[in-house]
Amino acid sequence: MAKSTSTPIYDDQGRELIVKVEGLQKYFGKNHVLKGIDLEVFKGEVVVLIGPSGSGKSTFLRCLNFLEDPTTGEIGIGGVHVTCGSHGGQFKKDVHQIRMKCGMVFQEFNLFPHMDAIENVIEGPVLVKGEKKAAAITKAQALLTKVGLAERMDFFPSQLSGGQKQRVAIARAMAMDPVLMLFDEPTSALDPELIGEVLKVMKDLAAQGMTMIVVSHEMGFSRDVADRVVYMDDGYFIEQGPPSEVFFHPQDDRTKRFLRHILPEKEPQQAAALGILEVGQELPDPDAAPLQGPIGAALNEDNMADTAIPRIPLSGGPMGETPLPPGDENL
């Protein structure tokens, strides 16, 4: 267990780094999914990953705790450093250390259906950390109370609603005392009225200083909680910055196009506030534009400017006078 006494890494300004990823690449067979990603996350920072589906967000998150085996690159989490693509006993030990330092919350909850809530939560501490069962139960009760499930501790997953399940899943991940929490679209499988309760627990966690990486399109959550938003597309980090920067002043065209799609759908009020969409205006019809161009012509950034008729007025918004190019209907 020599590796577990990990030394914290600091950057030149003396801030503690929880995550340091360098040159991370991932192939699925011949399919190049992650094309060289660098990321540093400081202690207490909340990073939200956004991007179109298939851009590699989830894969990147799952690479961090080696649910996917990255092809090349360096991953350091909580002072444990792993060179991807290696193998052998030390590699396995390091991966295990990293997994113990990361809590992960899945889109589909993945609670163990044959165990009740409290058994789900104590499973890791008792089996992996060798904690005494009584102590683990006390801790689990505190965690479940914290996520608002004090009344549901002996309920089985099949007896819980989606939001309750996801909160148990968060408690289960927290029971391992992680230095980093990974959320893989934690609200995507939930009914709209249940999303709030999960987001609230996540906000509480962030407020307590938990370092988090979240794949989510909950813009309200990102705006309120995220320290940094990363836009990811086609296996790259396209741009990143504070939510106000990325949402209000996106630099890259792909980011702009993506936000044009996501904001009006997800958060019409928000979009209106950002000036992307006026209140009361109809949502843009993503299927309308391709008729403008020659049939079969690929809509890419080169021919976009010619065929485009900006359908969403941007005047007065924080985007300034620069009209956005039209949405990429190929998405």
Binding site: R62, N65, L67, T71, G85, H87, G88, H96, R99, M100, C102, G103, M104, F106, E108, N110, L111, F112, P113, H114, D116, E123, G124, L127, V128, K129, D154, F155, F156, S158, Q159, L160, S161, A169, R172, A173, A175, M176
Partner: protein, 423 residues
């Protein structure tokens, strides 16, 4: 505790079977194993007579009048059965076919002499049997009853008439042999329960072996380009190969053949290996070995499907909280796979009850063999086989009932959990 109900019912089921098993075990084992003849005080090369039919010391006073049986311990004699001569009341009998030997239990062959016309239905008879070895030399015979060695083996029998099986369905015969056959049912249940337990064990390791293959050699080479990794991968692939070979072999050959090979082949294998070949595997345990290996092969595929039916997210959630591969299997995957597998397992259990009848060919006195023996003795095979059929049917109905009960119980638990969740 409602949450343990699913497993509790499985436990109850197992406990009941175990109870039946242990309560009846001594009886069953005593009848199940062929007891080899004790070493007699006869010089080597002199066959020892252990018993005859018609039996002068037995309770039966009728006989069929067309055959005799002599149960022998050859004691090293090189007997030529076809050369044996039988006289009744001093008159040599012309046999319908040369005398032959059936090996009902290992080392104790039965010399069978049959003739065409049952002419000796009633009266006193004196039998004399003369045995010869393959060189044509007359053999001495040791009589276990009086401890004497003589040139011919002789006995007398007082017949009170011709024995027949009576009507086609003879309730007298059924009644008389009922408990004898019932004891065979205990052996059948015992064979089934022990075999399915071992089969589950084989299937567990078999399925884990079958699922241990994660990457092809080509993928691994492209990925790591490391000879050392490839070497360890070859070692790691052995369980997969073994499991694949095992399921292929035992699903690809007949169960009956497997039973016979394990029972009769073991002494020959020992001989071929240069070990003493006197070891005869006990018939009961040979049967258990063959049945559990065969059913283990089928259950391997059932278990594999059950494990694969557990959502992949369960594995990932377990890994994400740091469980090792084995902990993940033991704590997360297998408990869920077991629930999925139970209906199929129940089916195989019921199929196995019937397939245990195959071990009758290696002299295990289970239902079918006891029914056959009773049929041979009572001369009414149909009646005794009917009794055996009734036992098989009753057993399968009984266990099907428990299987159905178990499944509804599990379904009800699930429904009740849902109900509670709605509150």
């Amino acid at each position: 505790m409602h949450r343990r109900a699913g497993f509790a019912s499985i436990g109850l089921f197992a406990a009941l079977l175990a109870l039946v098993l242990t309560a009846l075990s001594p009886v069953a084992l005593a009848t199940g194993e062929a007891s080899p003849a004790p070493a007699a005080a006869a010089p080597a090369g002199v066959p020892i007579v252990l018993g005859v039919i018609p039996d002068p010391s037995g309770t039966r006073t009728k006989w069929s009048g067309d055959q005799i049986n002599i149960n022998l311990n050859l004691n090293g004699a090189d007997l030529d059965p076809a050369a044996s001569i039988l006289t009744v009341d001093g008159k040599q009998i012309v046999l319908s076919s040369p005398a032959s030997m059936i090996e009902l239990s290992p080392g104790n062959p039965t010399l069978l002499m049959k003739w065409d016309t049952p002419t000796f239905a009633k009266g006193d008879f004196k039998f004399d049997v003369t045995l010869f070895d393959t060189a044509g030399q007359q053999l001495q015979v040791y009589d276990e009853r009086n401890g004497k060695t003589a040139a011919t083996y002789s006995w007398e029998f007082k017949s009170e008439g011709e024995a027949t099986g009576g009507s086609l369905i003879n309730f007298e015969v059924m009644k008389k042999w009922f408990w004898y056959i019932a004891a065979g049912a205990i052996v059948t249940v015992e064979l089934t329960v022990i075999s399915i337990a071992f089969a589950c064990l084989f299937a567990l390791f078999g399925s884990l072996g079958r699922l241990s293959k994660k990457m092809s050699f080509k993928q691994a080479w492209d990925r790591y380009q490391s000879r050392e990794y490839m070497f360890r991968m070859v070692l790691g692939r052995i369980p997969y190969w073994l499991a694949t070979f095992y399921t292929s072999l035992f699903r690809g050959t007949p169960l009956l053949l497997q039973i016979i090979v394990i029972y009769q082949g073991v002494p020959e294998i020992l001989k071929a290996l240069g070990l003493p070949d006197t070891y005869n595997p006990p018939a009961f345990w040979s049967g258990v070995a063959a049945l559990s290996l065969n059913y283990g092969a089928y259950l391997t595929e059932v278990f594999r499907a059950g494990i694969q039916a557990v959502p992949k997210g369960q594995n990932e959630a377990a890994w994400a909280i740091g469980l090792s591969g084995w902990q993940t299997q033991r704590r997360v995957v297998l408990p869920q796979a077991l629930k999925i597998v139970i209906p199929a397992l129940g089916n195989d259990f019921i199929a196995l009850i019937k397939d245990t009848s195959l071990v009758s060919v290696i002299t295990v006195e289970e239902l079918l063999r006891r029914a056959q023996l009773a049929g041979a003795s009572s001369l009414n095979n149909f009646s005794t086989l009917l009794v055996a059929a009734a036992f098989y049917w009753a057993l399968t109905i009984f266990f099907s009932f428990w299987q159905a009960k178990l499944e509804t119980r599990m379904a009800r638990d699930k429904a009740r959990e849902k109900e509670k969740g709605k509150k």
